[in-house]
């Protein structure tokens, strides 16, 4: 596969290095700050934000994290530049493998996932943290829009120690009152104790991270509430583009931006191609 990256892009110009963090860089940093050393995390291929978050945590404070890359376990802190792979099956990512995981084994051995952290997307994400990758419509046999399917999100949001919801598009189309279908259960309809009653292995979604802000969930009502606005984002813009009502703290915290050190790791070692620096929708 030819490298599509223009020559020299890996070496940041002074200007680019000093540009403020983009919305995607802010998202990646917010997620990275939540990751702890020793945790187990999958680095998706075509999910630039979670990929960058996992790698940023690994390269800063996570030398003992289990980094899963293209279904292999990898250690990447000695790599000056971590290539970006668009496809999860890209065999080049396996050069760093310490172990292979046949996919069926990966999807049977759940006990290790207690140390796991997962990032779940959705064509819809609702106020109770449910996610829908199934589709839009009322008759599941003839959906108006057929989504990609749960893939592994239904399971990963149950067995990993915790998880976050992540969307690259902050819009009322994505952030809805109720999902048409639920492929990854959050807090259901908000009934207290639902996840415990169902024996699910964690406390439910922790954050919803979007290009504009971070939501978390009220401990009793389980409704999404604003946790922080990304630097420079107006509250009104968030309200306008969110399909559900949400509680707002006063004052509103600002999502911490990446430190210069983090930003340089992001831009020079993790995202030399600059995918995170592109524009976000919403």
């Amino acid at each position: 596969m030819p490298d599509a990256r223009p020559e020299g892009e890996g070496r940041m110009s002074q200007t680019a290095a000093e540009a403020p963090a983009s919305p995607f860089e802010l998202m990646a940093t917010a997620l990275a700050h939540d990751l702890e050393d020793g945790e187990w995390v999958e680095v998706g291929a075509n999910l630039p934000v979670p990929r960058a978050a996992a790698l940023l945590a690994h390269l800063t404070h996570g030398p003992n994290m289990t980094i899963m890359l293209a279904m292999t376990k990898a250690y990447l802190r000695d790599e000056p530049l971590i290539e970006e792979f668009e496809l999860i099956t890209d065999v080049r990512a396996q050069r760093w493998a310490e172990a292979y995981y046949p996919h069926d084994r990966l999807l049977s051995e759940m006990r290790f996932r207690r140390r796991g952290v997962f990032f779940c997307g959705g064509i819809q994400i609702d106020q109770f943290g449910n996610s829908n990758l199934i589709g839009i419509g009322h008759d599941h046999r003839r959906l108006a829009f057929r989504g990609p399917g749960a893939i592994g999100t239904c399971n990963a949001t149950v067995h990993n120690g915790r998880y976050h919801l992540v969307t690259n598009e902050h819009s009322a189309r994505v952030l809805v009152e109720r999902c048409d279908y639920v492929s990854a259960l959050g807090f259901g309809d908000g009934t207290p104790g639902l996840r415990e009653e169902l024996g699910l292995g964690n406390e439910g979604p922790r954050y919803i991270v979007t290009p504009l802000c971070v939501f978390d969930f009220h401990l009793e009502t389980h409704r999404a509430r604003l946790r922080s606005l990304h630097p420079g984002v107006e509250l009104a813009r968030v309200v306008e583009h969110t399909g559900f009502a949400f509680e707002v703290p006063d004052p509103v915290p600002i999502t911490p931006a990446p430190s210069p050190h983090e930003l340089s790791i992001l831009r020079e070692r993790i995202d030399a191609q600059g995918r995170l620096r592109g524009a976000a929708a919403g």
């Binding site: 999860i88 999807l107 049977s108 599941h140 108006a144 057929r146 749960a150």
Partner: protein, 312 residues
């Protein structure tokens, strides 16, 4: 078989010899009939058994239940586009960034032209495991409380007999014929993958018959150098198909041919957007129906393109 022990004849002293299982894609696929359940290995943009899949289309098989990979690729999309499929069992059909959802699959699913047996990848392996264990089902925890038991009523919630917890019962996914792509095999069907092998072992173990196409045939002695690497120990049929996963990648041999995949995606997206099959039919004629065998397909692709595909 029963009375031989008393017959005392000498036929069983005839030495015989070990039967190679190597054949060509035409003969290999002859075991398939309309209405069968076919498992197709690989993972998204890698390692689908395309020489076999294209031959299956050439046979114009109908009403197949296709058990794709846990993350299926455009292999399943192609089978749907060709009208071979009544039902798809797969947690995902697409090509990641190249096509987030398989266009022909999405078109057929939205039109109600195919049934989709909806499930998550952990449920998928639970179903395959049940088949390999000859059980009616395997239990799984994740999925309870979601829409899956509604949109796939074959998934039944039940109370576990030990602790009384609510679980999902996933029925066995029983496969008649599994089609797999791998790196190498000996001529007796001892197959070795390069890379993780994705879910191919599980698809094989859930199937009655397994047909494997390989990049290379190698000697039994080379297989025996690393018996731990043997992933399918005794395929029923082996087909030698260099570049057999094209346009998908094949670990240790070549990456996906993005240009070719783009050609297919454009054609299938026209169907999705406009309902017109003209570009898709042109693609199918050129690459699937007109080539009489795998080598003629490769000729259509062109040797220069094939040689250009390099993993590193």
């Amino acid at each position: 078989m029963g009375d031989r022990a008393l017959s005392g004849d000498d036929e069983q002293t005839v030495e015989g010899s070990r039967r190679p299982v190597v054949t060509d894609e035409t003969s290999a696929v002859a075991v398939l009939c309309d209405g069968m359940t076919v498992g197709v290995g690989g993972f998204i943009n890698a390692a689908h058994p395309m020489a076999l899949v294209r031959q299956l289309v050439r046979r114009r098989l109908k009403e197949l239940t296709v058990v794709g990979a846990a993350s299926s690729g455009l292999d399943v999309d192609l089978l749907v586009a060709c009208g071979c499929v009544a039902k798809v069992v797969a947690p995902y059909v697409g090509a990641e960034g190249l096509a987030p959802i398989g266009p022909a699959f999405r078109h057929a699913a939205q039109q109600g032209l195919i049934e989709v047996w909806e499930l998550d990848e952990a449920l998928y392996y639970a179903g395959l495991r049940a088949s390999s264990q000859r059980l009616p089902f395997n239990p799984w925890r994740a999925g309870v409380g979601t829409s899956y038991p509604c949109i796939n009523p074959d998934l039944k919630e039940f109370e576990d007999p030990i602790r009384g917890e609510r679980l999902l019962a996933v029925p066995a996914i029983e496969i008649d014929v599994a089609l797999i792509h791998a790196a190498v095999s000996d001529r007796y069907g001892n197959v070795q993958h390069d890379g993780t092998g994705y879910g191919d072992r599980a698809i094989h173990a859930a199937a009655d018959v397994t047909i494997v196409q390989v990049e290379q045939l190698i000697s039994p002695e080379r297989i025996r150098r690393n018996p731990a690497a043997t992933s399918v120990a005794g395929a029923d049929r082996v087909v030698r198909a260099p570049y057999g996963a094209h346009p998908f990648g094949s670990e240790g041999y070549y990456p996906p041919d993005r240009e070719h995949l783009g050609e297919y995606v454009d054609a299938a997206q026209e169907l999705l957007r406009t309902g017109s099959r003209s570009r898709l039919d042109a693609y199918l004629a050129r690459y699937v129906l007109e080539p009489r065998d795998h080598v003629e397909y490769l000729e259509q692709v062109g040797l220069r393109r094939l040689v250009e595909l390099s993993e590193y």
